[in-house]
């Protein structure tokens, strides 16, 4: 075989590796930009950026405290384990004598510091956004969970948007009431309107998820 063919045989796999890695890297980071970026790439980039905005809300305490991987909810901005040994129970509604609704009513009780909303309960384990050590999952992991229709009560993009726009317990996060010490609970990092807008952009982009673990 001529020497240059041997060289090609060596170099080609190398080029393949570089090429694939390049695609992989550029997909994770988002396309940096450049004159030769396509419209589809731009939409994908916007969608992924929008997702990061959504992710920032989902993993804020007002939301993630009830999306645990354990058999207990969390509370507080420091997301500590909920007091009085309340636990998930078979349906995420607590156990007899310690049901969520035994304290959490259908509206906030500002005079006593207990948050409330309709049908207060834990998100099912299929919708967990943390690991069993109470650490928030990565952006890509949460995205996969949220978009997996076998785990998210069969919601497609538009359904997810409607959920973020209208669901009572979602809306609660922006009206979380007072703590027992009288101070207001902190809100998610975006306004509800911005959250909905980001969700819309993400849904329009086809609910893309970042690559990775």
């Amino acid at each position: 075989m001529p020497a240059n063919y041997r060289l090609l045989l060596l170099v080609f796999p190398l080029m393949l590796i570089v090429f694939v890695t390049g695609i992989g890297l550029s997909t994770r980071a988002g396309i940096v930009g450049g004159d030769n970026v396509s419209a589809a790439d731009a939409k994908l980039a916007d969608g992924l950026a929008a997702w990061e905005q959504v992710y920032s809300v989902l993993t804020s305490p007002r939301c993630i405290n009830c999306h645990t991987a354990t058999d207990y909810p969390q509370q507080g901005d420091d997301r500590h384990r909920h007091f009085a040994n309340v636990i998930r129970g078979p349906e995420g509604k607590g156990v007899p004598a310690l049901n969520c609704v035994g304290c959490h009513q259908t509206a906030n009780a500002d005079s006593t510091g207990v948050p409330g909303g309709p049908d207060w309960h834990l998100a099912p384990l299929s919708m967990r956004w943390q690991d069993s050590n109470d650490r928030p999952l990565s952006s890509s992991a949460v995205c996969r969970t949220v978009t997996d229709r076998s785990r998210n009560e069969n919601m497609d993009g538009p359904a997810l948007l409607k959920h973020h726009e209208e669901a009572a317990l979602v809306l609660w996060a922006w009206n979380p009431g007072r703590r027992p010490d009288g101070t207001m609970r902190t809100l998610p990092p975006l306004t509800h309107a911005a959250f909905v807008a980001a969700t819309r952009a993400w849904v329009d982009a086809g609910t893309p998820c970042p690559r990775g673990r």
């Binding site: 007899p96 035994g102 009780a109 006593t112």
Partner: protein, 154 residues
């Protein structure tokens, strides 16, 4: 101030209170029903437990304005309930109480457990009673009394 009609142990009671008043204080001070106790005020101890529409509820954190027409049952009403009676009798028979201050809440929680789970396992008991504090630590006898009551309720 607002007027509320409350259904307490099967009777209708009318109270005129600030809407933010927790049910606990409506019971204790408006209706003079002191069996339901104040232990912490933040739902951490269970001494204030009543049944609201049959669900064990911590009355210290529920403002009267959120009750609506849901039926309220308190410790004073447990004598009229077969499960309530069985639990109270088991409590007496097993000599559970020490200071007794938490026991209204313990009994209300135990009754809620037995109504939902007539034959509770040790784990059921520990989970359902897990949020009721007893500083005298009568927990050992509470476990025994619940099992005994379960046997009495057919």
């Amino acid at each position: 101030m607002a007027t509320y009609q409350l259904n307490v142990n099967g009777q209708t009671k009318q109270v005129n209170v600030d809407p933010s008043t927790p049910l606990l204080w409506v019971l204790r001070e408006e209706l003079k029903m002191t069996g339901t106790k104040y232990g912490c005020g933040i739902s951490a101890c269970g001494a204030c437990t009543v049944h609201l529409a049959g669900i064990a509820t911590r009355s210290c954190v529920v403002p009267v304005s959120l009750i609506g027409d849901r039926k309220i049952t308190t410790i004073e009403g447990m004598g009229q309930d077969p499960v309530g009676r069985a639990v109270q009798n088991a409590w007496v028979e097993k000599d559970v109480v020490q200071c007794g201050y938490c026991q209204s809440g313990q009994i209300m929680s135990a009754v809620a457990l037995l109504k939902a789970t007539p034959k509770p396992t040790d784990r059921n008991i520990e989970e359902s009673m897990g949020g009721n504090l007893c500083r005298c630590a009568t927990y050992v006898r509470i476990r025994e009394a619940i099992k005994s009551a379960a046997e009495q309720v057919t």
